[in-house]
Amino acid sequence: MPAAPEGPLLPLDAVVARTLPNGLRIRLLPERGAETVSYYTFFQVGSRNERLGATGISHLFEHMMFNGAAKYGPKEFDRVLEARGGTSNAYTSNDLTAYYEEFASDALPVVVDLESDRMRALALTPETLEQERAVVKEERRLRTENSIYGLLEEQLESLVFLAHPYRWPIIGWMDDIERIAREDCQAFFRTYYAPTNAAIYAVGDLDPDATLALLERSYGDIPKGPPVPPVAQGEPPQRGERRATVRHPAQAPAVLVGWRAPAARSPDAPVLDVLQACLAVGESSRLRRRLVQDLELAVSIHVGWGWRIDPGVFTVFAEVAPGARPERVERALFAELARVAERGVSPAEVRRAKRLLRSAVLHELSTHDGIAHALGQSEALLGDWREAGRALEHYAAVTPGAVRRAAAEHLDPTRRSVVWLEPGGAP
């Protein structure tokens, strides 16, 4: 078998990185390929920066960013961008808020003008706030209240976290979405959307020197913001299993289990990526084989593991097969996890997991959008954009022993939280 050729994943040396006097971080990477540019603006704010009573403000605010600023009024942002051959969107996570545009490369000056306009002088009118509040309530009805996984996930996170802001949903509680006032949004903008708390990543068909000069001209005069308040970290240790039930009309039960898991910066984060692939990526993964194929107790099984700034959550979700009981699904699941914690996984399983991860990283880095996002996410979560090019080094260092130890340590039965979906009501 030929060995996998390992060149550098990303030309990190070609990244032009600067920080403007107002604190705005800029990272530019010229890339051949499509004649397009991907342009990301990351703000270091998400639901972890919120407080009870105003949960969901990060996400609601993300909607407000598309509703007009000083130079480009309401509805103009997307109109101008689309006419120039571009598209935009944004997402809010527990940790960060990211805005992105993809466009034909000659539209770069227009995009910089649009983005710097809204960072400098966003218009927050009462009318657009009410309109976006209604839209966000529909989004919550779509993704949470009428979605089984949404309901279970919301319940699980509030079990796993007692004190940390990860306990509330990113979209916020309905009552808080109703309550957020325009003044809350104005204060939020001043604090969290200042250049000090932001970073720009542009990747693709661009000239880094000219782009840097353009960005300095466009953003350089935006004033610094106040210091960002620290995030409460008082999560107490978990002293036993926690359980909850969600009753909702459904065809079959489901089981969602979660463990509080280490922060992105922990050396165990990539080890848990490998464990995730061993457990539930692909048909030959452990849990798929055991629960879906051999025992037919579950119709599907997924392991969720996303890196977060503070210790996050590692989840297993099983849709229970018709006629099967959730107790049996749980028993089989926990028995398999106990086997991994005691006897570990084989070197072949680890090799398979690493190869799957390598393919995933190569796929991610095969588009301008994927590269720009990876740079931004690495800096937001790990404090260094260079980490985007180092993923494979971290995976290469993972041994079967490390996977066993991580499973034993982080998937401890006495520190799990379990949510059952109990079908009830009319279908």
Binding site: P5, A34, K75, E82, T87, A104, P322, H363
Partner: protein, 436 residues
Amino acid sequence: MIGLPPAEEERLANGARVVVARRPGVPLAAVRLLVRAGAALDPAGRHGLAHLVAQAARRGTRRRSGRRIDEEIEGLGAELGAGADEDATSFGLSAPAEWLPRLLDVVVDVATAPTFPQAELERIRRREVASLAHDLDEPGTIADRAMIMAAYGDHPYGHPVEGRARHLAAMRRPDAAAFHRRWYGPGVATLVIVGAVDPAKALRLASRRLGGWRPAAETPPEVPAPTPREREVWVLDKPDATQAQVRIATPAIPRNSPEYFPAVVANTILGGGFTSRLMQAIRVNRGLSYGARSRFSMSRSAGLFFVSSFTKVESTAELVEVALDEVRRFRDDGPTGEELERAKGYLCGLFPLSLETHGQVADKLCDLALYGFGVEEVTGYRDRVRAVTAEACREVGRRHFPDGRGVVVVVGPAKALAPTLERFGPVTVSPARRIL
């Protein structure tokens, strides 16, 4: 100009087509094996058979067990995708290019020589039935399935690809084996390889693997055009839902229609991007929904035009009204000059993003083969978009956007919804499980 990478193409003696394109970029190779046999060929009472065959083919061949296939593919860092649509079945994967010879061997083995082991086929069938039942918990999925059934009626495209629960329950191993024998063959197959590969070597490899494939028993017949449907309103009952899913649909044009480019531009203006009329009217101006869009869904022999959105139960009739008003306004007046230019700028600017990865290029090459197009469909894309006139858009709207015709499908609590929807046409209320 937007181009495809230079592709080398060969037709083997048994009729199979092989297309290989070398591309710079990440050291991956994308493989697609397309067989022009899909759900339109599902026999009466066996809806879902093409889909089941696609899922079950990887569960065992003459040379490999299902488990060995999983291990071989995933052990090399790839995941095998298999799926059917109305017209075709596709097997595909992307993986580090150094493994191409071994992976290609498995992909071809799965598509050409499956044995459908009894126990594995039964298991996949049970899984498919169970996962259909789970669809009842997804209001959007219920609406999509109902829309296909309502808009196409008893046309060969008129059942969801995943099939119907009681049909699946009746399927047995001989059904799957017979479908494969009858329709899967080199005469309707195209193998596409794109990425970090040497084209000459890849062609040699592909012809060795595919050259021995024997012809299928039959060639798929052409599918007729569907008949337009009178206005009907289907309400699928989900008594506890707090939000209603809405679809408005009508049969429209196949992919190879001469109206394709005007249709793409017209749809972009009505319900494509974020600035579309539907998005503005429904989300931005009224806060009725998080999303609203329209689309031409185009297959080889027919297609649908549909509007899709959702809103809280109380505002459902208002949303349908607003959507139909926007459709009517477009039919009457067509686009403004500014809208037309914006839509063209948008489509032309973003087109390169649909050809950024090896996998996207492989998919595009499969499409060209499936719909019988040459590369000018890609290289001439921007010129043809730019040539679309306002009058052509209005004509597309007049001919294909639903006016008095078309079905309205709503999923939500029927008791609250049905009375509010009667003004749009005759209402039929059914339990959500009608879509199974």
